[in-house]
Symmetry: none
Subunit: 237 residues, 4 copies
DNA sequence: TATGAATGAGTCTTCATTCAT
DNA sequence: CATGAATGAAGACTCATTCAT
């Protein structure tokens, strides 16, 4: 019953597994010499940038090396030339793009030891700032870190231990004991909550560009909303 | 080599695109007559369940029909017998699993017209309750609704219009005007925030089972934390 | 060069191998009791008719048992019930449809021993008459007898030996010697020629229904043209 | 059984739908480096040749890419390397093989404006000449142009309009009015008749090689017969 | 550096056929 | 009689990877 009723519209929707025909055909930069006449390392960097963007857009598993190559104006074979295998491309991406981004985030909890509410609000703001500079960050985080089986989660743990996390947890617990943070909060969920209030709307904001109700939302709006909610919840002051 | 080789660890990790060799080998129900002698509709339902679980675990695009079949103890051809194509399987899944789940969520904003804070807290609670009954919901939402290019977002819109959303938005704006909700909140982000505070930690909780810092988190803990944060933020009361 | 220019229009044309989406969905006679309440032998006859029609339309190899079943209002399993295998269906088809048709053609050469021109003209006329009664004949002959690898040719030979052919050949040679037939004719090509002048246009006439230049051609027109050509060629009398 | 079983002979004949086990096993050029060290364009041309031959032998729909590959000494994936899809292979085939052949045929009616009988005889002769140079032409024409649902007919029309046909028709009508062609002829059937008298026997001639009655027929015999029949019919002069 | 050529493995899908009911 | 369920074998197509030049 419910089953067959859907058949009619099936053809119109993007296929479930067959890649939906590349959203932007792009000016078809043909292989050969990429735009800039720069060579060597610049080429490599360009490939990393394109890979990161596509990974964020389509997911790591769902992006082929061929798509990366085409989008960057290379032959697929060149991708292998620079990054022996698909896996190594991912390794390099983490080392050269994720690690630096992580550094940009700093350690708000350590920087604002006396004002936990400010520290948390600041973390939210920084996440949004960093995401503005690196638009691939929110979608990639949602897909490859939050999602079960995400390919980044495991690798991230290998790079960064749990030391940082433990320190943050200890700080939050201490603040709670001192009565400077709500005691109903679950310390281990605070960081996740800040991410949920910032990265999630940012990850959706590209889709929202076609949504009349939300097309005008700016990163600042998201920041203001998150900070308001984090500092005093939804109730009026 | 130039690629800043991290070869050492590469081999040990699951390949980037080649499906990681099935996380749980499962008791390898071999094809033939599935355990129960049940036939017809039960088989179909079983396939739907397995598909939903795998889609949640690995993503829709990254789950092959063969994996679904194997996990359910069928031949791949049987999946086609019950659901002509991959796309139709997804259609059926939406009709028979997503739509009912959606109904379970109800309309908290309409049910608590006089107490917006309670309405929002209640929504959080319900999301967690529903997710407990349907563990596939959080990961699937994160991957296929939040993520760019997620396959559910579009299909959901086709089923449920924007009417519900518009009503919620109107209610929030009205409450703000009446001074019953904080005016710094962005109405269009309220729902997303509740999702970010509930679905995101729930989606990660499976991974957390191996995380000594968070393995003991229960859905109730997540609910309590989310409600606390939503009702009065991180500051102590 | 020439290659890529074709890409644009590809999607619009029927796929090269994937069956072009069944031309006439038909009122979808659902399985169960076929239209007439008749049973047993009638069912079998109906399947044969449908098979013959579809074989003529799409070719034998390119018609699936499922298509035959659907078109006849049966389940695919029923086709196997009546004709154990695909091959046997074909055997039966030859025995019960082709052999009788062959009988209808008679032996014009033997019937008009004294007037070779009339015999040949009569053969043409009969081919057209028989084809009108059995519209599946021309397309099936073209596809499965003329075409290299056609599935009927071999089987026909098994049923009907070469005796008939030899007799016709002998008659023609004799007539040539007697000066009653043109000596430039190749005896072994006479029968083929008559077929080429009748069966070929008949096989195309279905397609011609959409052709403004030829939509009005009737079997009589084809007969008149063939007889004229056979009796005195294209030159005016 | 009820099916008037002809089981006895069934097993010996090639299966009806399962491709008959390759007629000519061929020297089984095994994949690897094809004989000649030729590369690139030559390989492509070789694939086109093999495809054309097999399409002519077995029909377009009934030839798998795997068969083409094997016959040419390639892996199936290579066929996709040179011609993205099955459809494109066909497009290329038309552009690079059919269009040139068409050019070889010329426009006999325009070249012999004063002698219609000669024009028609000449057309027959040319069809036979061209077919001798391109043996794939007759069988392919029979299968894919004459036959209902043939894949070439439609594509041909897209390339060549109906202009040529209309001109030929006009010429024939004019000749009839001038009393230079028999008035009983159906103008729109003249071209078809010439094809029927040439292409049909040519398409069958490969089969005839095993036919004691016709094995000695040469293209010249076919041409002489067709010309005789076209110019003055079967009656003696 | 760069790339065209080549391929093995895998993915979706179709289909003739079988079988228990 | 009839059919739903089930499957093995095949076919088109994709993709990461390799390699000779």
């Amino acid at each position: 019953m419910t089953t067959k009723s859907t058949t009619g519209t099936t053809a119109a929707r993007p296929a479930a597994r067959q890649k939906q025909s590349k959203p932007e055909p792009a000016p078809a930069r043909r292989p050969g010499r990429p735009a800039g006449s720069a060579r060597g390392p610049e080429q490599r960097a360009r490939l990393l940038d394109v890979a990161l963007t596509l990974f964020a857009q389509r997911g790591i598993l769902d992006t082929t090396l061929g798509e990366i190559a085409r989008e960057a104006g290379f032959t697929p074979a060149m991708v292998h030339y620079y990054f022996k295998t698909r896996d190594q491309l991912l390794d390099v991406l983490i080392d050269e793009r994720f690690v630096p981004l992580r550094a940009e985030l700093g350690s708000p909890f350590r920087e604002h030891p006396d004002d936990p509410v400010a520290a948390i609000a600041y973390l939210a703001q920084r996440l949004i700032d960093v995401s503005t500079r690196h638009p691939w960050f929110p979608p990639l985080w949602v897909r490859e870190v939050i999602s079960e089986g995400g390919l980044l989660k495991q690798r991230m743990h290998e790079r960064f231990g749990t030391a940082h996390q433990r320190a943050a947890l200890a700080a939050i617990r201490k603040w709670q004991r001192e009565g400077r943070l709500d005691r109903d909060l679950e310390p281990s969920l605070v960081f996740t909550s800040v991410l949920g209030l910032t990265i999630v709307p940012l990850a959706m904001s590209k889709k929202w560009r076609n949504d009349p109700l939300r097309k005008s939302l700016s990163p600042d709006d998201i920041a203001r909303h998150a900070v308001a909610l984090l500092t005093h919840g939804v109730a009026p002051r």
